[in-house]
C-alpha cells in the first residue's frame, strides 16, 4: 500500500459541495459532500438515475465537477495538470457493471493490463497475475477471452484487473448488477477480503439492497442530487422475488 501525501486518517476521497451539471436545469449532482476514511468499505445506494455512476466518475477522474471540489489522497484534483492525473489514477481500481474487459485480450492479459501499461516486465509479474486469477477462482481460465466467460467470470476478471496494482481505493459501479444473487455474494466476499487483508478503501455503488443489509457496511444514500450517511439496516428490505409488484 502506498501512502505518499496521505496522513493516516486523512480521507482517501473527499467531495466538498461537488456538483455536476450538463446545462441549465440539468443538475446530475447538486451539492454532494462526502468523505471516505482509509480502510473503509462503503456502499453508495440510491434510486436509478440518482447519479451514483456520475459520482463514481468524479472519483476516478473520468469527469470534472462543474461546482465544488474533489480531493483524492489529500490532493485537490482541480489543481492538477493533465499529466498528473495518470499517477493518481494508478492508485485507484475501478470495476464496472458491464465489466469493460478488452474483448481481444485473454483473461490473463486483461488482468495484466495495468502492469503492462506501467512498463512492467512480464517475467516479473506473471506469477502475481496467475495467483490473483487463481484467488478469484479463474486459475484454469487464463487464456479464455471475455466472449467465452460467464457474467460472474467476467466480473471476477474485472475485479482482478482492478486490484492487480494493489490500489489504495477501489470504486465499483454496480459490480453485482449483471450476475445472479449467489455470484453477487461471492463477489462481495472478494471485496470484503480485499478490504480486510490489504486495508483497501472500497466504495461500491449498488441498488442491491439485500446485499447492503447483509454486509452491515457503511452506507451513503444518494437522492435528489445530494448524499447522506445512513446505517445499513435503514435501507428498506428488498421485495421477495416473485412477489406481486
Amino acid at each position: 500500500m502506498r501512502d505518499q501525501g496521505l496522513a493516516a486518517d486523512a480521507p482517501v476521497l473527499r467531495l466538498d459541495r461537488a456538483g455536476v451539471s450538463f446545462g441549465p436545469d440539468s443538475d446530475v449532482l447538486a451539492d454532494v459532500s462526502l468523505s471516505l476514511t482509509p480502510g473503509s468499505l462503503t456502499f453508495l445506494t440510491g434510486p436509478s438515475g440518482a447519479g451514483k455512476s456520475t459520482l463514481l466518475k468524479l472519483a476516478y477522474l473520468g469527469l470534472r465537477p462543474t461546482a465544488g471540489r474533489v480531493s483524492l489522497f489529500g490532493v485537490d484534483t482541480s489543481r492538477l495538470r493533465r499529466k498528473d492525473l495518470a499517477p493518481l489514477r494508478r492508485r485507484i481500481g475501478v470495476v464496472f457493471q458491464e465489466f469493460r474487459l478488452l474483448e481481444h485480450l485473454t483473461a490473463y492479459e486483461n488482468v495484466a493490463l495495468p502492469l503492462r501499461v506501467l512498463g512492467g516486465q512480464e517475467k516479473n509479474y506473471r506469477d502475481d497475475v496467475v495467483e490473483l486469477l487463481t484467488w478469484v477462482g479463474l486459475g484454469d481460465r487464463l487464456d479464455a477471452r471475455p466472449a467465452t466467460l460467464s457474467g460472474g467470470e467476467k466480473q471476477r476478471v474485472a475485479i482482478a484487473r482492478a486490484v492487480v496494482v494493489k490500489p489504495d481505493l477501489i470504486l465499483a459501479d454496480e459490480p453485482t448488477g449483471n450476475v445472479d444473487e449467489e455470484m453477487g455474494e461471492r463477489l462481495f466476499r472478494l471485496f470484503r477480503e480485499l478490504n480486510k487483508r490489504l486495508s483497501t478503501t472500497i466504495l461500491i455503488a449498488t441498488h442491491d439492497l439485500a446485499l447492503v443489509r447483509k454486509s452491515k457496511a457503511d452506507v451513503l444514500r444518494l437522492a435528489d442530487g445530494m448524499v447522506m450517511r445512513v446505517p445499513a439496516s435503514a435501507e428498506p428490505k428488498p421485495e421477495p422475488k416473485g412477489a406481486p409488484a
Partner: protein, 291 residues
C-alpha cells in the same frame, strides 16, 4: 503459459484495409510523379547538354557557297571545328518524321554546316561575329545556336517539374489528412479501450504511442507496396516505349536509375513518417479533449 503478447489495439480489418488501399494508391501516384519528374529533368539535361556549344548554319546556295561558308566558319576565332552535314546525315535527322527512305532523291535538302564552339567562347559574341563575317562574304546563311530551343525545353521541363512537385505535395497532404481522419475515427471507435488504458494509469503519450506504431507500420507497408507498383508501372511504360524506335529517340534518358531507386525507397519511409506524425498529433489533440 499465458503471455501478455496481444496488441493492445485490436486490428480493424475492414477499416484498415480501406485505409491501406488509400495510402498505397497515394504512394503509388506520388512515387510515379517523382519518377516522371526526375526522368523529365534527366531528359532535359541530356537534350540541352547535347546541343550546348553546337552551332548549325544553313547555307542557301550551291556547293561552292557551302565550301566558302565552311572555310569562313573554321577561321572564325572561337570556333573549334566545322564540317558539312552530309545528305545521309540530313536524311537520318528527318527519319523520325518522314520514315526510312522517306526522302526522295529529287527532294532538295538544305545545305548544313555543323560547327562546334570552343569551350571558353562567348556564345553571343561568337554568333554575332560569325554571322557578320558570313554576311560580309556575301553568303546567304542562317546561324542557329539552339539557345532559343534549349531554353524553351528547359523552361517547359522546369514547369513540368514544378507541377510534379506540387502533385507530390498535394498527394502527401491528402495522405496525411486521410490518416488523421482514420486515426480520429479509430480513436472514437476505440474510446472504450482508451478509457480503460487511462484508468489503468496510462499517460496520453503511451496511448498515442500505440496508435503511432499501428499507423507507422500501415504507412510503411502501404508505401512499400505503392512504390513497388510504381516501379512496375514505370518498367512497363519503359518496355512499351522501347518497342518504338521513334519514341526512344525522343526520350533518350528514360531508364530506371539509382536516383529512381532512391525515390522508390523513400516512398515507404516518408509514408511511414507521415502516418506516424499524423496519428500522434491527432491522438494527442483528441485526448486533450477527454478528461
Amino acid at each position: 503459459m499465458s503471455a501478455a503478447s496481444s496488441p493492445l489495439l485490436p486490428r480493424e480489418d475492414a477499416r484498415e484495409a480501406a485505409l491501406f488501399f488509400v495510402v498505397c494508391a497515394l504512394c503509388f501516384l506520388a512515387a510515379l510523379s517523382g519518377l516522371v519528374s526526375r526522368s523529365a529533368y534527366a531528359a532535359a539535361d541530356s537534350w540541352t547538354s547535347d546541343v550546348s556549344g553546337e552551332i548549325t548554319i544553313r547555307v542557301r546556295g550551291d556547293d561552292a557557297a557551302l565550301a566558302n561558308a565552311i572555310e569562313i566558319t573554321k577561321t572564325t576565332p572561337g570556333i573549334a571545328s566545322a564540317r558539312a552535314i552530309t545528305r545521309d546525315e540530313a536524311e537520318e535527322l528527318l527519319r523520325p518524321w518522314l520514315g526510312a527512305g522517306g526522302v526522295p532523291l529529287s527532294m532538295p535538302l538544305p545545305r548544313l554546316i555543323a560547327a562546334e564552339a570552343a569551350p571558353a567562347a562567348n556564345a553571343e559574341e561568337l554568333l554575332r561575329r560569325l554571322g557578320s563575317q558570313l554576311k560580309t562574304a556575301g553568303l546567304d546563311t542562317i546561324v542557329d545556336d539552339h539557345l532559343v530551343w534549349s531554353g524553351d525545353v528547359r523552361r517547359s521541363i522546369d514547369l513540368a517539374g514544378l507541377v510534379a512537385l506540387i502533385s507530390v505535395g498535394l498527394l502527401g497532404a491528402t495522405g496525411i489528412a486521410v490518416i488523421a481522419f482514420a486515426t480520429h475515427a479509430t480513436l472514437l471507435a476505440r474510446r472504450d479501450i482508451v478509457e480503460i488504458l487511462h484508468l489503468s494509469g496510462a499517460q496520453d503519450g503511451y496511448i498515442a504511442g500505440l496508435f503511432e506504431r499501428r499507423f507507422l507500420m500501415l504507412g510503411v507497408q502501404a508505401g512499400a507496396l505503392g512504390a513497388l507498383l510504381a516501379f512496375g508501372a514505370a518498367a512497363f511504360v519503359l518496355y512499351l516505349l522501347r518497342q518504338s524506335v521513334a519514341q526512344i529517340w525522343l526520350l533518350p534518358q528514360l531508364s530506371l536509375s539509382l536516383a529512381d531507386g532512391l525515390i522508390l525507397g523513400m516512398a515507404p519511409l516518408v509514408a511511414g513518417a507521415a502516418s506516424m506524425t499524423a496519428a500522434r498529433v491527432t491522438v494527442m489533440r483528441s485526448l486533450s479533449d477527454m478528461v
